[in-house]
Amino acid sequence: MIAETGHFALILALGIAIIQMVLPLYGSRRDDPQLMAVAVPAAQAQFLLVALAFVALMTAYVTSDFSILNVYENSSSAKPLLYKISGVWGNHEGSMVLWVLILALFGAGVATYGRNLPRSLQANVLSVQGAIGVAFLLFIITTSNPFVRLDPAPFEGQGFNPVLQDPALAIHPPFLYAGYVGFSMAFSFAIAALIDGRIDAAWARWVRPWTLAAWMCLTIGIALGSWWAYYELGWGGFWFWDPVENASFMPWLSGTALLHSALVMEKRDALKIWTILLAIITFSLSLVGTFLVRSGVLTSVHAFAVDPARGVFILGIMAVFIGGALALFAWRAPLLRQGGIFAPISREGALVFNNLILVTACAAVFVGTLYPLALESVSNEKISVGPPFFNYTFVPLVLPLLLAVPLGPFLAWKRGDLYAVAQRLMVAAVIALAAIVIVFAIQGRGPWLAPLGIGLGVWLIAGAASELAYRAKLFQASAAETWRRFIHLPRSSFGTALAHAGVGLSVIGIVATTAWRTEDITAMKPGETTEIAGYRLVFDGVSERAGPNYDEQLASFHVFRGDSEITELHPTKRQFTIEGSATTEAAIYNAWGGDLYAVLGDPLENGAYSVRVYFNPLVRLIWIGAVVMFLGGGLSLFDRRLRVGAPKRAAAAQGRLADAK
C-alpha cells in the first residue's frame, strides 16, 4: 500500500509538473496574471508529492519491506538504521528520487520566498524548473521506478554494498545533489531572462544566493567524498581524478566562476551575456555529471546502473536542455544590453581573469574525463587518463589564479592601481617568502617545489587576512577604532576572506601530503615492530570480532613515540555475510602534524600479515580548508545586502530597516 501511494504520488507530481511547465510560461507570454499565478501552488504541490513518494520509499527501507524490488536488492534487515535510511539514495532509483526531491524543494523555495520577484520572471523561472522536473520524473517513472513489487516477497534482502555503509557516505549524496540541482536555479533564472530578453543587476542579486547555497553544498559534498575515499578505500589518497570525482568537480569549478561573474553583474552591470552563458554551462555540467554517474558509462565505485535505456534517456534530457538553452542563448543573447566599461587592471578585470582560468581548467578536466569515452566509442581502443594528465594540465593552469587571488579584493572597481595594491600586500608577501625559506630549511632533501607550494598557501591566507586588516585600518588607527571598523565590516567581506583562506589551507594540505607522505609496506608477525616518521608500531596480533552485520579481523598495534606509548591502532578487515564481500577499515591516528594511517592486509605464511602504514603530513588541512570555504560562503549568504529583494523594493526595505532601528 505504501509503495503504491509513493508510486501514485510520483505520477501526480509529473502531472503537476507538466502544468507548472506550460501554464505560467503561456501566461507570461499573454501577460495573464492568473495563469502566471498557477506557478506558485503548482511548485509547492509538486514538492509535497515528491516528498510523499520519498517518505514512502524511506518507510519501505526502514521497515525492510522486501516485497519491493529496490529494497530487496539494496537492503537487509540486519543493517543498522542509519544505513537503512541512507540506503534509500545508495542506489540508482532512490538517488534519482532524491535528485527530483531537491529540485522540487528549490522550486518550492522560489515559489514561497520569491513573492517580491517581478511576476513574469518568477513565472518563467518556475516554468523552467517545471520542465526539468517533467524530464526527470518521466525518467524515474519509465526507466527507474523504485516502487516495483516482487512476488513472492523474499524473506531477506541482498544487502547493501559494504563500502557504502559509512556515516560520511550516508550524507555525501544529499549534499552533492543539493549542489548539482541547486545550480538548476541559476539555469532557470538564465533561461527566464533570455525568454524575457531583459536582465539587470536585480537578476544577479536574485541568482547569487541560490548559486552560493548550491556551491556551499557542492563544496561540502566533494569534501565528504574525498574524506571518505581517504579513510575507506585504504590507499591513503585524497583525490584520484576518477571520472566520478571529476563529474562533481567540473560543476564546482564553473559554479565558482559563476559566483564571481554574478558579482560583477550585480555591482557593475557588466558581463551579462557571459554570466548567462556560465549559468547554462554550470547546470549543463551538473547534467553531464548525472549522466556519467547514472548511465553506467563508467564502471567505478559509484556506478551501479547498467541499463543502457537509462543512459539514452539521460542523454536525451541533456540534448534537450543543453541544446535548447544554447540555441535560445544564441537567439536571444544579442538583445541583452551590455553596460559597465572597465580597464584590464581593475576588480572586474581580476574577476574576468578568475573566470577565464576556472573555465579553462574546467575544460581541461572535461577533456581528460570524456576523451577515453569518446575514443572508445569511435575506435574501440581502451585507454585510461590518470592523475598524470591532470597534474600536467589542471595544476599549471590554476597556479596563476591562486597567485592572483589575494590581489583581487584590493583592486578598485573600474580602474585599479596595481602599485598601491602591491604595497598593501607587502606584509603578506613577506610572510609567504619567510614561510618558503623556513620550509626549505627544515625539509632537508624533499622536492624543491614543495616549499613554493606551501608559500602559495600561506600567501593566500595572509593575503585574505591583509584585506580585513586593511579595511579595519589595523595599525593605522587606534585599537578601539580598528575594532569598531572590524566588527562593522560587511559579512560578505569576512565571507570572501574566509573562502580565500580556505583555499589556502587546502593548498597547504595538498602540497604537504603529496610531497612528504611516507609509506611502509611490510610483512609483520605478532610482536614485531615497524617504524615510520618517528613513530614505532608494535604488532600485537589479530583477533576475531562480530559486528552487527559483519565479522571482522581486528589487528592491534601499540604506537610509541620515543619511549612513551601514545595510542593504539586497530585496523580491521570486515566480511559482510549477506553481501558476501569484504572491506578494509583503516585505523587513523590524528597525530601532531599529520595522520598516522594503518591498513591490515592479507595473512601470509607462518602467522604473518602484510601491513601497510602511512604518515600523511597535514592531510586534514585539505578538508578543513573546504569547511572554511563553506563557512565563508555561509557568511556571505547571510550578508544583509543579499537578503534584500529586487532593487525596486530595496529602497523601501532599507527604509523599513531604518525605521525598525
Binding site: A364, T393, R612
Partner: protein
C-alpha cells in the same frame, strides 16, 4: 585606453590562456594516457619494454603465490593467453582467484608484468568491463546477470 584597446587586451589574454591550455592538454595526452590490453593483445603486440599499460583479465585459479614478504605473484588470464604478474603491496579487498582484475605497470625483461597498482572492484561479481567484453568476444561469458536472474523471484508491476 580606448574601448578598442581594452577589448584587444581582453581577447589577447583569453587567446594566450587558451593556447597554453591546448598545448598542455596535447602534451599530457601524448605523454600520460595508459592503454588497456588483455594478455592475448600483449602477446600479439610488440610492446616496447618500459611502456606502461593496464592489463586486465581474470586471476587464474590456483596461481596466487605469496612467499617472499609482501610480494605477490599471480597469473592474469583471458582464457586464451596467460601472463604472470608480480606486485608488491596490499592487494585490494576483492582480489580473489577466478575474479576480474586490472593491473597497471610494465613488462619486465623476463616477460613478467610488474604491476605497481592493482584494481579489483567492490562487488563479488564485478568484472572489469573490458574483461567482460573480451570474454563475450570469445564466447566465454558466464555473466552474473544470467546467474542472478535464475535465482531471483519474478518481477511484477
Amino acid at each position: 585606453m580606448t574601448r578598442k584597446q581594452r577589448r584587444s587586451v581582453l581577447i589577447g589574454g583569453c587567446m594566450a590562456v587558451l593556447a597554453v591550455a591546448v598545448g598542455l592538454v596535447l602534451f599530457a595526452l601524448s605523454d600520460s594516457i595508459v592503454f588497456f590490453y588483455s594478455p592475448s593483445e600483449v602477446m600479439a603486440k610488440e610492446l616496447a619494454p618500459g611502456q606502461r599499460f593496464r592489463l586486465g583479465g581474470l586471476v587464474e585459479d590456483g596461481s596466487v603465490e605469496r612467499n617472499r614478504g609482501t610480494t605477490v605473484k599471480f597469473v592474469i588470464t583471458d582464457k586464451a593467453k596467460d601472463l604472470p604478474v608480480t606486485y608488491t603491496g596490499v592487494l585490494p579487498d576483492l582480489f580473489r582467484e577466478g575474479q576480474g582484475v586490472v593491473a597497471e605497470g610494465m613488462l619486465g625483461p623476463d616477460g613478467v608484468f610488474q604491476a605497481d597498482k592493482v584494481l579489483a572492484k567492490h562487488d563479488e561479481n564485478y568484472m572489469p568491463p573490458e574483461v567482460a567484453a573480451k570474454l563475450k568476444e570469445q564466447g566465454l561469458w558466464e555473466g552474473p546477470e544470467q546467474v542472478s536472474r535464475e535465482t531471483e523471484p519474478s518481477k511484477v508491476n
